[in-house]
Homo-oligomer: 105 residues x 4
């Protein structure tokens, strides 16, 4: 799936409801809620917190995709093209961080 | 850009360094750092906090893409296909939330 | 309750278990999980997200205190005196931000 | 310092400005910003991310206290007594989690 198509899928989903997109601060709160659920899973899997049985089958891909869904909501609500934004970040890293860590031989 | 290609671009970037991918808890901490920068920008733009001049030209697309970059690092480190994970989340929403909010006529 | 006493209550609680304090990155993940639950509640109460009945009686004080509990765990694990740290932050604000916003007459 | 006194210090600070307390979603965004700064420091100290020199003298107590300051802002804005809320959380843990982890002999 193209990033543009992913943004469009999100838009089709949101557009069918009267409520439409939430404003940025409410979207951010939802993003934080989803990052919190990801944190819970990461801690259960890779941290010190013992995993309860009922959470044994949670899926990290699902938690990551839940976060991505809200990111794309925030982008859509602001009319941001994530494809261009992501290319920009890759370019920023190349310029800023290319010499920041030791490279492999 | 396809989501798969975005994951591959991230992998090409990370793979050139000796350090490689961080473990999940360190990646999560970096995700939280990037979400914090997004929160700062959202509050400056849409909240009550007055914007300082030096931050006037920050770009929300860049902050969103910084978050997405770390998400894709976490996915790559775990061998997760975000394309499939995102399709799964769209399907979950269709099943779970299709009747949760009033639809447009 | 004094801040020092609050830190000591946390220490008494944690000290009774074999596991003891978690390391900083795991504590941070738990902090993020608790902040996520707070975000969910804040969005339900003050955002656009409709509140489900089962969450109608959640308590914001409880969510704030859950976050504070993890903060004090992180402080204890590092041997940090939050009383002194909090005084330092108040002093920082006085020096840095005293003229940042318009004062009342 | 008592928790009540800490809440009062925050109130004295905020009350001198025209702007007063922010609404809950804006306070939450600020909390997330501060948690992001804490995450950055924790990753620098205890994670895989290399520490830059300019950040060598950052103080974890300060970052924790910055988070606590915003927590107390949120409590004050909602008229919440953190002393009572914290006692409630300690009691919740005693009831819910007293048998959750192995105790020391």
């Amino acid at each position: 799936m193209e990033l543009k198509a992913a943004q469009q899928k999100v838009d089709e989903w949101i557009s069918q409801f009267e409520e439409g997109y939430w404003p940025p601060l409410a979207n951010l709160a939802r993003l934080v809620e989803e990052v919190g659920e990801l944190a819970r899973l990461v801690n259960h899997r890779f941290g010190t917190k013992p995993k309860k049985d009922s959470e044994a089958d949670q899926d990290m891909g699902e938690e990551l995709a839940d976060v991505m869904f809200v990111l794309l909501c925030m982008a859509n609500e602001q009319g941001i093209d994530m494809d261009a934004a992501f290319e920009g970040v890759l370019e920023k890293y190349r310029v800023r961080d290319g010499d920041r860590w030791p490279r492999k031989d």
